[in-house]
């Protein structure tokens, strides 16, 4: 399996009266992530499936990323991506095809990645908009890091 772990793009700061889960992407975050997605496209990244957290910033990031989902691919919202990784999340990932992107939040994506790579501590620094490409079996220590693509790299690739 190829698993692409994506942290959501830059969101507006928390504001009084608005819950954390309802923070939208900032204009800067939206524009920058659009460039990141262009970079991913130039690198040939494509997904069979896209799974994302229900938080607004993840939904909006997933929407931008959905252009890389194959025409017959599927997107799905997952409550399990809005919390620490669990067996239920792994079960959900497992049923979703061979090239899957998941869009979520730190520190949970870091915990997920560390578990799959068999690391004892955080193994990947996930900046907002970053992508970690893992490959292998979906089990503890079963995956290797193929590439870590921080946003500045993706933006450079996008500009050619």
């Amino acid at each position: 399996m190829d698993l692409f772990v994506v942290r959501h793009a830059i969101a507006v700061p928390a504001q009084e009266g608005t819950g954390d889960e309802s923070r939208p992407l900032s204009e800067e975050g939206r524009a920058r992530f659009a460039r990141c997605v262009r970079g991913m496209r130039r690198l040939g990244l494509r997904f069979d499936r896209l799974l994302h957290s229900p938080y607004l910033r993840a939904v909006e990031s997933a929407e931008a990323l959905s252009t890389l989902v194959q025409p017959d691919g599927v997107t799905a919202v997952s409550a399990h991506l809005a919390g620490p990784p669990t067996a239920s999340l792994l079960a959900e990932i497992a049923e979703r095809g061979e090239r899957l992107a998941v869009v979520g939040h730190e520190p949970w994506l870091g915990e997920l990645t560390a578990h799959l790579m068999g690391s004892t501590g955080p193994s990947v620094e996930f900046k907002k908009g970053a992508v970690a490409h893992l490959r292998g079996e979906l089990e503890k220590g079963g995956m290797d890091l193929v590439a870590l693509l921080p946003p500045r790299v993706l933006v450079r690739v996008a500009h050619g």
Binding site: P24, H52, E63, V77, S78
Partner: protein
């Protein structure tokens, strides 16, 4: 049923039909009233239209999953309303209990909870964008209707057109600008579809109370007449769609 939104709103929120969906979830769960499942499916389809009007892809597959998850129960509710009492009705009831069990698994799924959390967080749709998309759909509906061979086209083609018209009707409702011609067209296509379904059920040997003693041949003839009527009415409906432009 949520009322059409005011024309003056610059933004079109998802709220009314999301509320409608959530109100019917417990009714669908209980299973005693077919309206629960029916309205759940109607609301899901209207919400899909709201997403499509904005060109949004995420959450559409989730709404389709929800709608499809209730599909078997809906089909059986409709079947049970048509069939005469007897062993076949008992068999449909047995199948309904299985389908309802499957629906309960959908209603209990974390995916539904996540969907209901995500939808209200989406910003309200910009009216201008919805208007542009609806105009495109209106033009396309006229073009497809003009190319359709109303009397001879395969039923699947008519059914696809019916889905297109339904989507257009929902779009106009979101804008708060329902169009009589679209409603009439939608009802005509609905009648054609109902006759086709009735004919298929009779061909399968079902004993249908709703068939009122009609034979397959009689229903087939009615279906042909219904299609001929739709063909005759289409030009004036197309003109009305053109005149009632947004």
């Amino acid at each position: 049923m949520p009322k059409p939104r005011s024309k003056r709103l610059e933004r079109i929120p998802v709220g009314p039909w999301l509320d409608h969906l959530e109100r019917h979830l417990p009714v669908a769960r209980l299973g005693g009233d077919p309206e629960g499942v029916h309205q759940l499916r109607v609301a899901a389809q209207r919400l899909r239209t709201w997403l499509k009007l904005q060109g949004l892809r995420v959450l559409d597959d989730d709404l389709r999953w929800l709608r499809n998850g209730a599909g078997d129960v809906r089909d059986l509710d409709v079947s049970m309303s048509l069939v005469e009492p007897g062993p076949y009705l008992d068999e449909l009831r047995r199948r309904w209990r299985i389908a309802h069990g499957d629906l309960l698994r959908v209603l209990d799924a974390p995916r539904l909870r996540a969907l209901l959390e995500a939808l209200p967080r989406l910003p309200a749709a910009r009216r201008e964008r919805v208007l542009r998309a609806t105009r495109r759909w209106l033009r396309k509906t006229r073009r497809v209707g003009n190319r359709l061979d109303w009397e001879r086209a395969p039923e699947e083609e008519l059914h696809a057109f019916r889905r297109r018209v339904r989507r257009l009707r929902y779009a106009l409702d979101w804008l708060g600008e329902p169009r009589k011609a679209v409603k009439v067209l939608s009802e005509e296509l609905g009648d054609v579809n109902d006759l086709a379904v009735l004919r298929d059920r009779l061909l399968r040997g079902e004993h249908l109370a709703a068939a009122d003693g009609l034979t397959v041949e009689e229903v087939t003839e009615r279906l042909a007449r219904s299609r001929a009527d739709a063909a005759k009415n289409w030009p004036s409906l197309a003109r009305a769609l053109h005149k009632e432009s947004l």
